[in-house]
Amino acid sequence: MRRKGFKKTMAMGLAGMMTVGLAACGGGTSESGSTQTSEAAAATEEAATEEAVSTEASSDVTLEFQQWWGVELPEGALDEICNEFTNQTGIKIETLSNPYADTKTQIAAGAAAGTMADVVGLDGSWVYDFAKQGAIANLTELMGNAGYDDSQLSDQIKFESNTYMIPVVNFAYPLYVNMDILKEAGVSEIPTTWSEFLDAAQKITDNTDAAAYFIPLNTEAPNGIQNQLSSWVWASGGNLLKDGQPNLSGNDTIAETVDLFKEMYEKGYLSPGIEALKEQDMVNEFENGRLAFMVDGISHLTTIKTESSDINFEFSTVPVKDGYTGQSGMDVANWGIGIAENCEHKEEAWQFVEYLMSPEVNAKLAQLANAFPGNSKAEPDYSSNDALFQKAYDIFQTGYAINEFTGAPTSEDLMRSFNEQFVLYIDGDVDSASSMLDAVQEAWIPAFSK
């Protein structure tokens, strides 16, 4: 009897502790509620304060800036840029720099818990989900309040017509060409159209041991659909989306691109085993001289130059559909920036974003990152960068930056469903490109209609 009573007491105690634990988990709401009240009070106070006092007050503000850029830039470079901002405004910046994967996890956890750092480095593929979740702030409003001229921004990543991310620097994806393989195959000029490319690929297959092209199709990282296939669609002026909705069914440019890749697959122009290979495998193949062409980010330029100094390669534009004379879109990845919705000093946070996007600072960041600037008025000095990099920049300026997966909902899943249907098509399980694209469209629509 007594043991039963004791068990009951223990059980009640445990249940009580669980309740306390759960209440503690949910405690953030009431706390943020009180924070919101104090935020509102602070906002009213701020509005009534004179500008001089405001500057003095901002010296007490410290903003957390979480990103992966600090790890990838030369040591201390980001801190130097942030310190300069502190010197100008008195607003302190605390940089939280971690590798990309860790930053993604920490920002996602912060978004779920409402404890995101004030200013965050963003990847375009995260934007839709964070914006929908209400974790990142509407930058259109902040730009409007600050009277900022956004025409100088090369791009803005939007959700429901409002900007939530600004690309700070862009990493373009040009065509890497191994000139030694082309020479061995008897190809005198870098192909610029699809028919020229197919001719070159045939010669490479006939006369060398190398593969002509590579599209990584491992489902773990399905970005081959974005970087190595869609880049061909964009280069020929095509689009995967129309008015922010999937535009795959009946889309001739995509259908022709898919057929081009099927032809390359059937004729053996593509590296074998691509269904299980990843982007890194493609870079390895190129570095080892077993691949003639690849579409890859310029961020790999230094790595390839360092690891395979004997490779003689050039940059070029992605070949376009025969007869296409319009401007070419060039695939880009970017370092984006956003402000957390839970940030208590949004005005100061915007000041920091504006500083990073100013032509001078943006040019410096682009030069340091081996990237292209997000401010169209920025003029980076690439004289100390590799000569090939300057060539890539020239190519980039002839077209326009595009990546329709940036800002799209569950973009990785969109790529994966495209990947699966594409593999079924090249394996012969789907009878035509249009049927394949219909299936992809059907798979994409639920993500866009949520």
């Binding site: 929908k132 489902t219 299980a276 593999v423």
Partner: protein, 319 residues
Amino acid sequence: MIGQAAHSVAWLAKGVGVMANGFKKQSTKTARRVAVSYSYLAPTLVLMLIFLVVPIVMVIGYTFFDNVIVNKNPVFVGIKNYVSVLSDKSFWPAVGHTLYFVIISLIAHLLIGMVFALILNTRYLNYKTKALFRVLFALPWMFTASVIAIVWRMMMDPSGVLNYFLLTFHLADSKVLFLASRDLALFSVTLINIWSGYPFYMISILAGLQGVSTDLYEAAALDGANAPRTFFYITLPTIKPILVSLMMLDFIWTLQQFALIWMTTGGGPVNASEMVSTYIYKYAFTKYEYSMASTAAVILLIACTIIGIFYVRHQRSEA
């Protein structure tokens, strides 16, 4: 008389009082002893509560809402998620692949582990040779999943060592796409898992074999039993409890295998090597549908719990 009775009552009352005090003292002692015991257990109980019970309860709770974490105002949907997962056209193939992966791995682990353990337990090898082979055979157990995935991806690459071997010795007409072919991908990841998992069996069975009394073997030899009969009538029954425990644990671990599959094929090509674990991951971290992912995870939890119950019962019956 009345006085006597009163005295008796007083005496009785005193006696009861003394008895009650005795009982009270005894019960206080018992309660104190129990409280002390539980206070020793308290740190473990609290940790189990925080890291085991609360997350499980939360995940089970998630399964009854339309979506959580990314949804600020989740709506209660009852068992709708369970219906959706169980009627999802890609769930049952994932279950089928998982069962293939688990059963083949289990059988192969047992056979290879047993053979290697018997080799290492034989008296025909000297001490140094046994030590060398123990290290060699146990090597796959030392590697992490990521190292195993990288090594096997390189070996199974169309330009890798396995294809070189097959083509050089004319064992194949063309390059074999181990991980890239929809027909071979599941078999290939199962092969990798077999390689990485057999040493656990080998080491455990070897420990069991070393515990079998030599008297039994001597008696069997005197009775004229040959090697197979000795194995089936003495060795196997003696180490049976170890084998059952190993198989149950391996079933649960292999059922939950994720890293190896994710880093080699990612569940592809298409869905050729999709398992329940990769299915859950995709729902959670690429579709951001945490309720659906939680539902599939709870279904997996139920399967593991059933096996777990059998395991505990078996352990009790052995005890």
